[in-house]
């Protein structure tokens, strides 16, 4: 009799164990699939950025090869932003919407044309193009290239400001470049502040050949 009860108990345990295993198997499957989907999505987004930059770089090269005497509006010409110090080389897109910033650093609409007189504001994501923006120090050089023109800027300062501190976007009389990204730069999570790097256009006599 006791033997019969023991057999039934072991059968119950066996049933419970197989149920538990089935649940765990399903859970493992769901977790793995979820992880793979998320990683694929993230990879896809970064791939989109890479593909867009490749396309823009080709277009920029085509524009650079074009004779300068062909009159084209500055607004139609692509600008290439190069910062040797942080290994950044990207083509700037026009606009700073969420979609556009996926493709590259965005030129704030309404701010001065990059390289021309006034305050030109360029914004980019902290997890891609401007990831190392905080490494820039006073005196570091920034190049903006449009068609055959090269504008060399020198970092003159940087600040951390609240998102509402829009004075950094205001026009300037001198030729100024303002680079902005979210701060803290090396952080996964909300970005309560903005890192602002300000550079001024160097005179031809100040620029060193590169």
């Amino acid at each position: 009799m006791e033997r019969g009860i023991g057999v039934r108990e072991s059968n119950d345990e066996g049933v419970a164990g197989s149920k538990d295993r089935a649940v765990r198997r399903r859970l493992a499957f769901v977790l793995t699939v979820g992880g793979v989907v998320l990683l694929l999505y993230v990879s896809g987004q970064y791939w989109q950025t890479y593909a867009a930059q490749t396309r823009l770089a080709q277009e920029w090269q085509r524009q650079s090869a074009r004779p300068a005497n062909i009159s084209t509006s500055d607004n139609d010409l692509l600008v290439r932003l190069t910062i040797a110090k942080i290994d950044l080389d990207a083509v700037v897109v026009e606009g700073t919407s969420h979609q556009l910033l996926k493709l590259g650093p965005g030129h704030l609409e309404g701010s001065a044309v990059p390289g021309k007189s006034g305050n030109s504001v360029i914004v980019a994501h902290r997890d891609t193009f401007f990831r190392h923006l905080d490494e820039l120090k006073e005196g570091d050089e920034i190049d903006l290239r449009r068609q055959s023109e090269v504008y060399r800027f020198e970092v003159v300062g940087r600040r951390i400001v609240a998102p509402t501190e829009v004075s950094v976007l205001q026009p300037s009389l001198s030729t100024q470049l303002t680079l902005i990204t979210c701060y803290p730069t090396h952080y996964v999570g909300p970005a309560p502040n903005r890192l602002v790097v300000v550079a001024r256009l160097m005179l031809p006599s100040e620029t060193s050949p590169r």
């Binding site: 309404g110 701010s111 003159v156 976007l169 009389l173 970005a191």
Partner: protein, 216 residues
Amino acid sequence: MKNLFLPIVIAVLLVTSGFGQTPAPSASADPASVKGCLSGSDGNYTLAEDGTTQTFKVASSAVDLKPHLGHDIAVTGAKTMATSSGVSDNSVAVTAVSMISDHCATASTSTAAASTPAVAETIPSTTTSTPAIVEPTPAATASAPVITEPAPVAAATPPVVVDPAPAAAPPAPAASTRAPDDAKQIPNTATSLPMLGLLGVGLLGLGWLNTRSRTN
């Protein structure tokens, strides 16, 4: 049945020839700028032109118009004056937009523009020690030299056309005197991608751990 065939063919021919004679919508596209008040909803915007009774359908894939709803703006792009079946259908394919005012008080545009304070430029102090990141304080901002520039010229002129066509864009310095379009806040540059990536790795890890504990 055969009796019906001929009338049907004739009717079809008449209908198709009728369609063929329907005048195609006449459209003329020319690059221009329009200044006015933006209204509507997502993807379906209209611009009531200042100083006239004309309204334009506004569409753009290049710029985001949503933040300018209820604003007095100047849009640049291809203006299409179309007439379809006697109904005018004007639209603008916008390539650039600039905000003139954050409200649509058309009657007081000139006075509002006149009372707009001059744009102040704050030049960052170059004497601050940059290696250490310094949180800006209002006092520090105020102590920086302030140079005032005249208010944007475009805002003070009530006429319709503000910016010329892109082909005849003004020299760049003119652009530098305009305030940025969305000057309420610095654009957000943080994405959720790193967080999602970490989450994906975490889920994969948990799934792997779960599989391992099952096999042990």
